[in-house]
Amino acid sequence: MTPVKHLKKIVIFILISIFLISCSSKKGLVYSSGKLSSNSKIAVIIDSQNNIKNAVLISFLKQGFKVKAVNSSDLYTMKDVYDISDLKKISYNISEENVSTVQKTYDNIYKLHIYNFELSKAEYLKQIRSEWDVEYLVLLDLKEWEKVSWARVINLKTFEIDFIENYPTAYDDNIETITEHFIKSITGK
């Protein structure tokens, strides 16, 4: 065998190995505690351009869902929760002085902010349930080939996560096929 042919075989072997490794590391998983009926009232959260969002919403509408589209930035805002006035009162420059009490104070302010923010989000979801009559929150993140798209469904009646799925996007997938895949998994049809 000539050196060139030998080299070609090595390169092909390496490329196949990389392909197989990247495929095997992207595993799908799905958990469902129950199937959603396709005439459920849902709010869909997806962080995409409007044309993609519309394509997703149309897929859900076609299946009979009663859909409200929301941006998570509309749902949750940190500015009303994060009270930086307490931080401003602490006058130490933390990067210059490593003082345990001061570090503890900064950390605790941050922790309380996180608790308050999560509580605010929960209260807002409760409002969505009662004012918009939404039964489920559906979160979707659609990714291109070689990455993992994922979905999550939150039951706003019980405040529990009812459904999760990680779906490695296939080479021939597009927005519609991924969305339809998730809808099938969510409804069990």
Partner: protein
């Protein structure tokens, strides 16, 4: 060939010896102070640390230093001074000449029905953090059972894994998980908990993106409950706010606000935190049983957990250095930790 074999045997022996040396911990003990006025219990101030030291040495092969072997503590006793509960702000000075990995000290007070409550502090020398926990048991003939139980806790806390357990979390409990991963990784984590039978609150999972990165989640590394706490040392001397007749009204107002901030978020933090915990508990739409904080490192191959029982605000579990080659594997180890009792042997 013969020399190569000798080299291999030498290398293996060295590796074994290094690992044995690395695993032997050393703990110095301070006195356990009688918080009550019942002087008939003063004898426990020495008995308790000596008993803990004995148990750690005999059962777990720790190197130990009893209070009488620590000059800064023994000299106080020799002078006939009444022993006092050690202030956390003085730990650095007290331990600077102690050649040990950890310093353990505490206090106790008798309760009704012949019971005793002990407060134990485990301080890793050279750091600025203390692990404090309480335990209650019976006096007299039962006290050595309590001592053995506490010795196991000390042994598990006094290492990098810092395992503390006060119970287990049954399946079908509802968990609120706060973590620094999101998206598909968060789904992978959720998958294992849901599969085990836990119910999951939508806390944090109700958004596409997470709020915290691997540095921000570390602010939760120090975590407290009403019964136990792993916290950074705070000392009012750290934040002396100078003022005098020269201050002026504006400056005085500024430092008064600063003082209030330190009171609220450091010295009286547990009261401040309890208010928000009460709010979370009373949010009836989401009836959470436990808050679980899970911090992943940047490579997501190592994690730590803190578990709080939301119903009674008690710290239930801490554990660090949970390793795994995937989030699913780490999640399974976490679930195992949450569902099994305290390990006797590490």
């Amino acid at each position: 060939m013969k020399y190569r074999l000798l080299h291999i045997i030498f290398a293996i022996t060295t590796i074994i010896l290094v690992n044995i040396d690395a695993s032997a911990k050393s703990v110095a003990f301070g006195f356990f102070i009688n918080e009550s006025r019942n002087e008939s219990l003063d004898y426990l101030e020495k008995i308790l640390p000596n008993s803990f030291a004995g148990a750690l040495k005999a059962k777990y092969n720790f190197d130990i230093f009893k209070p009488a072997q620590i000059p800064v503590l023994a000299s106080g006793e020799d002078d006939g001074l009444k022993k006092e509960i050690i202030k956390e702000g003085d730990l650095k000075v007290i331990t600077k000449d102690i050649d040990a990995d950890y310093f353990v000290y505490g206090s106790f007070k008798p309760l009704d029905d012949n019971k005793i409550k002990m407060t134990i502090n485990v301080f890793e020398i050279g750091t600025t953090s203390v692990f404090q926990f309480e335990d209650i048991g019976y006096l007299e003939t039962e006290i050595f059972k309590l001592i053995d139980k506490i010795a196991v806790q000390i042994k598990n806390i006094a290492n990098k894994s810092m395992i503390y357990k006060k119970g287990t979390i049954p399946s079908k409990s509802k968990l609120a998980i706060l973590t620094n991963i999101d998206g598909e990784d968060l789904n992978s984590l959720y998958y294992e908990f849901l599969h085990y039978g836990y119910k999951l609150s939508p806390t944090q999972g109700n958004d596409i993106y997470g709020l915290m990165d691997y540095k921000q989640i570390n602010k939760f590394y120090h975590f407290s409950g009403v019964n136990a706490s792993f916290h950074m040392i705070d000392d009012r001397k750290d934040v002396e706010l100078w003022h005098g007749t020269w201050s002026g009204t504006a400056y005085y107002k500024k430092i008064s606000e600063e003082k209030k901030a330190y009171e609220k978020f450091s010295f009286n933090y547990m009261n401040t935190k309890n208010e928000i915990i009460k709010k979370i508990r009373s949010f009836s739409a989401d009836d959470i049983d436990y808050i679980i904080i899970i911090g992943f490192n940047k490579s997501k191959n190592n994690a730590w957990i803190r578990c709080l029982n939301l119903k009674n605000n008690k710290l239930l579990i801490t554990e660090s250095e949970i390793e795994g080659s995937s989030i699913n594997k780490i999640a399974n180890k976490i679930i195992k930790s949450m569902t099994t009792g305290l390990p006797e042997n590490i």
